[in-house]
Amino acid sequence: MEPASRLDHNHELAIKDLPYIVRWRDDRCKRCGKCTAVCPMLSIEPAVVVKRVVQSEGGTPEPKSIRYVTTIVKQTTNIERYCIGCATCALVCPNEAIEPEYNPQSKFNFHKNKGGHPYRRGGRRNDPQPSTLDRLRFTRISMLTDPALDAGRHEFRIRTYLGRILPAEDLPLKMVNGKLEVDKISGKFIPPVREIYPVMIGSMSIGALSPTMWEGLAMGITYLNEIEGLPVVMCSGEGGMPQRLLKSRFIKYFIPQIASGYFGWDEIVRALPHMIEDPCAIEIKYGQGAKPGDGGLLMAHKVLKLISEIRGVPMGVDLPSPPTHQTKYSIEESVAKMIQSMSMAWGFRVPVYPKISGTRTAKAVLNNLVRNQYAAALSVDGEDGGTGAAYNVSMDTMGHPIASNIRECYLDLVKLGKQNELPLIAAGGIGKKGNLAANAAALFMLGASAVSIGKYIMQAAAACHGDEMNRCNVCNLGKCPRGITTQDPKLYRRLDPDVVAERVVEVYKSLDVELKKIFAPMGRSMELPIGMSDGISTDDHAIAERLQISYVC
């Protein structure tokens, strides 16, 4: 018997199966076509339909059925062109005639695997619940017995150190006329240490980011350093940096990253003899919180002229970074070969540190690093970190939350007495709910020396649509409607790098004020409250116990 599916559309998805339903209002729409033109997914399209209305004219009812042909805006149920909820249509609509609405009943994950290809996307873990960081409160407030400080009037020093710090016992000091002097002839190696702002911009590559976005971030942090006196630094992500930046004096505000694909490093090595300043540091990427244990992939359609030049590769080819550094078979080898050889490349003047994804094995990595004097820090990227492209299953289910991971690493260092020697950098979900200063301050108090942000700055500086309700999150497709994660000039020209830079500056200036507003009532001003765990509490017993902080209710 012939199946009836063709007649009743049975194998097609219903609108209710999709994550966003487009609400279009016939009465408001003037059919200008802007929404359908701008939709990055082509989820909506103009369609021609026949409509039937019943009309009655005259003094007595004489209903007549009239059929007419008209244009509408129609949402497709093709899962390849599903509505991502970005609301770019609403942004351009002159009459507020259209907007996507989140559909909590969506069965998207049941269907987004056409052709046997699992769902891949950008963004971060789809979990709109508050993270552990958002459940922490600052409860040690200076009251009467010790006066609270004034965030507006008192002097504050919100800085941290990036680099391996020698214990005081190992400093090569000698006494000369009652003063301590550095003993130059001792030959003792003093590792390089940078004084930086404790909230860094984490690794996002040119390639993952559009040229305009990356330029905006770079201009923003340069302005913060040179004009505002805030030494904010930024990591390049894998894939190198423009030659003119490498050879400029501004390179000192940047942290070039080397990852398992080594993209861009031919060009960096070529630039080395011409560099007039050292970079802030070098980050070696071993893992990423959003997709731990997985590699990277810059899709061929993103590898255009600029990217191919910076990365030193042909145009239009896929650029896969393997999950691991293929030439390394052990942590000892990785530390010895990579950290030490990268240190050597800059004459041991540049801190070199690894970045790993949050994992229960982070302590094992840490234990190895503390025993290597060239390891400058450890960056741990928690499961709520963002990415330009990953399998949804990795993003949603793989990884380790940052709070307990950083806490146990810090307490491990305390046990060894090395809590001040190897700075811990925490990343992954900081500012997920918009509470950047509070999340950062909580992580300092749990033991982080610095934090890295990525997704937050994209959202704050360029109004990235992505969220944890799976809105947008098409960074991997090169279709970013804001022009943030695309190499398509039609899209990235939407983004004004000057506006991005201005927003970066605004974000950091307000962050600085908010951090002071947290530290001042707690009586801290001159040093970052690293490990000041008596300052934070939570209303969750289990969290309190795990993080070794107090429970309040």
């Binding site: 006066p147 016992e169 809590q419 409250p529 490990g531």
Partner: protein
Amino acid sequence: MCRLAAITSNEYFSPIENITALETMKEGHDGSGMGLILKSLGGEFEDLKDYPILSGICSKEGMKTLDDYMNKLGFKLKYAWTPKINPVKGIAGRDHYFARVYDYPDVYKDKPFEVKEDLLLKTRLALRKFGENDESIIVFSFYPDIITLKEVGDPLELCEFFSLDKSPLKAKLIFAQGRQNTNYAINMYACHPFFIQGYGSMTNGENTAFVPIREFLISRNFPGYIGYNSDSEVFCHILHYTCKQLGYPLTYYKDVITPLKQKEIDARPDSETIRLLKTSLRPLCIDGPNCVIAFTPDGTSIMVQDAKKLRPGVVGGVKGKYGLMSEECGLDSIIPDRDKSLDVFPMKYDMVIVKPDAQEVIVWNQLHG
């Protein structure tokens, strides 16, 4: 806020002077405890300067445990001092208050002083542990030429309780602290001044950076860095760590607890060193509203303030007798005939150093090094 009264002199004087100063500075209730440390002892202790003195409080059972332990280690009791207890309403007395002078065990007699110091510290810590659960033994110091006396109550009433006004007990350097009413579950180990291996300190104010500092000190693995029943005990241990463990000159204590800004460091002649200290000893930055008064093994006394100068503190006197007090009225009560225009109110960059025997006052400025 705690009241602090330190007096340093080239002549022996009675702790009643410090207590008078505390009384003068008193504002409201001041009954959470008083601590006294006497250094460069006179009277009956003048001829016993080479022998360690164990100061503390014991119950009857505790005293037996203490004696047994000291005998077992080979310490020989040379002299025992106890204050004459005069019952005062409101002060719950304990069985034994003591300062007992011991001779070293025979095997230690010819050992260098550093070895003896280690023995004294370990012995004190062992005794402390014996009495930790039931407070049968509380020991404050075990060191030559140092007596520590502490109890809960109003300083003046405690003076009467211990009959200090009638006692011949005298010293050339006496630190006294009167604790206010912010602590009710009072642990005697939380009472200032604190002492470790020749270094003593007392502080007013709260230490907002207490937890990271405590974790850093404990993780130095030095057996004496324990306790921390008070957030102020770390000031004493930081001084010990800076000067004794690391061997830095005294003024670097200021650079450790209140590090300069980078621009200020650049102007220091020893900038390279200071920059390294700031990073290496970062967790010891005190960051709170604190005035610290301390002494070192040679009898030098110092006063330093936090980086915001949020607490009062004054140093003044005449050659041969100086007071380091939390308030000026305390100083007036003890050394009224001084030139007040020479009083020093240390600000955020200053370390006031009073040399042993109160011969000289130096104001060291951190900006100039």
